[in-house]
């Protein structure tokens, strides 16, 4: 755990809360995501000033504003690339992306393959309510077929995207799913995701009671199944992870299918930053260039007298 800074004295979860009252509807799943995050921060003894939480736009993307950390509420779909810039600039920061299923998998979906395959050491937490909440009820890429949305009043005819399988295909090195109705599981998964060196993705099933009347707490309660504890899945096994992942959405079609939660995959391997360091070493890069070094870059453009 030496790759991130820790406090000597643990702070309480409440110390990671900001004084802004969440604007979420009563009963929104996202409340407990914030609770789990602050608990994870506390247990990991993260200094608040070393946490940068980056979000896009959506109900879920308000989450960073309700916590005490450096919070970067960006534009719709752009949390990930802004977070990449932050992490590249200062690898000592704990950079967490707080996003929603629309933000991450619709408008933002072009950024995911590239952060994942490069194994940039970020933690991406997607509050997946299978709907666009903030814009008042449109289907999202993770919505089940037939779900009602204001632009698809006939019930959507789109096959949903599988977030877990997609991130696995991209080469993410930590891929998990949890459920905001299970705070303990969620906290544990988020902790592990933060501790993981490399690109971590956590899909949080986080119901929107206001607009999604199908994928509710009640719906999930009886269905979630811990793939690690209950099914004995070993997260180092990539092909098993894939196979499990491809059944992630079975419950959309089969009322008896379970909703898998847990860590699908986890593999510690070189991060992008490790590789950057290797290149920098080859280049004899310095941290603070001297004026002489800078002058030498300019002088290199003199007509080549030899």
């Amino acid at each position: 755990m030496a790759h991130f800074q820790q406090l000597e004295v643990q702070l309480k979860p409440a110390d990671y809360r900001s004084d802004i009252e969440p604007t979420w509807c009563p009963g929104c799943g996202d409340f407990s995501v914030v609770a789990a995050c602050t608990k994870a921060f506390s247990e990991l003894k993260l200094p608040p000033e070393n946490i940068v939480q980056v979000s896009g736009i959506g109900c879920s993307s308000r989450a960073p504003l309700f916590m005490k950390s450096y919070s970067v509420h960006t534009l719709h779909g752009r949390a990930l690339p802004v977070a990449v810039g932050i992490k590249l600039a200062n690898p000592n920061l704990t950079v967490i992306v707080q996003t929603g299923d629309g933000d991450l998998f619709s408008i933002g979906s072009g950024h995911n393959p590239h952060a994942a395959r490069r194994n940039i050491d970020l933690t991406v937490i997607c509050m997946d309510n299978q709907i666009y909440g903030l814009t008042k009820n449109q289907v999202s890429p993770t919505s089940r077929e037939g779900l009602y949305g204001s632009l698809t009043p006939y019930g959507t005819i789109d096959k949903p995207l599988n977030p877990i399988a997609t991130m696995l295909a991209y080469g993410a090195t930590f891929v998990a799913q949890t459920y905001s109705g299970n705070p303990k599981h969620m906290t544990e998964v988020i902790k592990q995701a933060i501790v993981h060196r490399g690109f971590s993705f956590v899909n949080v099933l986080s119901p929107c009671p206001t607009f999604n009347r199908v994928d509710t707490f009640k719906y999930y309660k009886s269905r979630t199944k811990d793939i690690n504890k209950e099914l004995g899945h070993d997260p180092t096994d990539y092909s098993k992870a894939l196979e499990l992942a491809f059944h992630d959405l079975d419950h959309y079609y089969d009322p008896n299918a379970p909703v898998p939660i847990g860590i699908f995959f986890k593999k510690e391997t070189e991060t992008y930053h490790d590789r950057v360091n290797a290149v920098k070493a080859r280049y004899k890069a310095v941290d603070k260039p001297t004026p002489e070094l800078i002058q030498s870059f300019v002088d290199a453009c003199k007509p080549k007298a030899i």
Binding site: S71, A83, V276, L293, C301, P303
Partner: protein, 608 residues
Amino acid sequence: MAFDLTIKIGGEGGEGVISAGDFLTEAAARAGYEVVNFKSFPSEIKGGYSQSTVRISDVKKYSTGDGFDILCCFNGEAYEYNKKHLKPGTVLVYDSSDFEPEEHEGVITYPVPLSELAREVMKAYITKNVIALGVLCELFKIPAKPIKDSIKAKFMRKGEDVVNMNYRALDVGMNYVRENLEKRDPYSFPPPKEPKDVVIMEGNQAVAKGAVVAGCKFFAAYPITPATTVGNYIVDDLIKAGGWLYQAEDEIAAMAMAIGASHAGLKSMTATSGPGMCLKTELFTYAGMAEIPVVIVDVQRVGPATGMPTKHEQGDLHHTVYAGHGDYPKAVLAPTNVEENFYLTIEAFNLAEKYQMPVFLLTDASLSLRAEAFPTPNVSKIKLENRWLYNPAEDPEGRYIRNGRFLRFALFTEDGITPMGVPGDPNAIHAITGLEHQENSDPRNRPDIRTLQMEKRMKKLEKLLREDADRFYEFDAPFEKADIGVITWGLTASITKEAVDRLRSRGVKVNALYMKMLWPVRADLVEDFAKRAERIAMPETNWSGQLADILKQETHIRPITFNIYRGEPMIPSEVEGFIDYLLDNPEITEGRLTAADVFGKEKVYGLI
């Protein structure tokens, strides 16, 4: 008489046309001359027509002139492209193993079987360009020593054999002239002078070097012609200086990353061209709203849409100044030559950090490829601005902390500028958001807060106009009351300088203003300039007269614009012709003219 010679080399891309021009350029600089070199590539990846125009002079020239004195054609295509410009007195050196030119009255021709010499004598076709250089050296008394030095410097890493082969090729060319040709033209180089301490940079290279000097530590790239080479040029220096270049998945991501890296404390930039500018726009407004310093380089090309990607146009100014939903503070700089590419890039970083906002640098496809020799910058003399970070010791009353919250967007400073905080600092924990926000960053919809924050942000530009704008106005206005006052920008300014010299030498009273900060505008300076001229003339290489539009809106001037939108820079004689036309037509006091209006529809494309 002043020495001023323009040599144009044309041929197939990949035949060494460009590097022949580069050798000449370096040699001229090493021989103590002023030199500027303009390259143009085909849009095809391989092959197609390439050319390199080298202008060598004893006083600095900013354009490559109207044409050339000496044309060296590597093939018949180059001849076809250029033959309409062969005037009496010009010299044509050509590959006589490839083609024979038509009769051109008064043109002095030197046939040299370049390909044959390369293939038969040198047994290496790739030495054709160096053979040609040898021919030029011998014909025009160009000192061979500096050329040889350049050859050595370039080929050294390929081994001694390659160097020697090229030396021999140079000799082959020189010998061919000695043995077969008789000099019949008046052009020859004066003896070498004391070499000056200069650097030679290409436009995009100067941006790259300037950025590293300015302290840039993060460059977010996405390839796009003609901006890509800014990244090519910066990457090694940047890594050595502890920074990083990241090739993003698209321009939106690149802009987002630059914003992220800046928020995390680094001086950050991105470089792109028109299509990328469009994609990044939403994030420009975010940088404005969240008050993030960031530098955006736009190497303009011809639009709209994909347009003509390798060609020159000054068509992104409207976009840079006016795009984005809602108003946000920004500055727009535009260098007129390669040296300014270097220095204005540094200025861009300084302004971005000082005013905590996006700053744009507009260059263009032609400027990006132009090489110039200019005095070697001394980096220790260059002033750098670093960002104002919150420091509790400087805030004994705790004005910037309220209820334990850092007031990143405090409203009480006079100039709208407030200290920043960088992640990692426990004293300045705060949020940034694209939502309208109150002093402590919390989102708010209140009309009063909205109004005040809007005013805070925009006030920064007032300070900029007071403190940092006038040095970007280059006045060359010797006449108390000129007939014409020319205002222009970017590469067109370089070209206009030469036109102005010519007009004045003919007794025309013309004042000139070269604007290098295009937004915000010092209306007072522009209007004072305008008062000292009967009429204002504004040449621009775009359809609508984009700077003219801005000035019409920001000042009281009513210019006559001259708009060329053919994808190539103007040439000095066009600007000259435009001004002459105005002098001939005193009734024109405002409006828009195109090349067809001034030169007639048929003649237009014959000019260039």
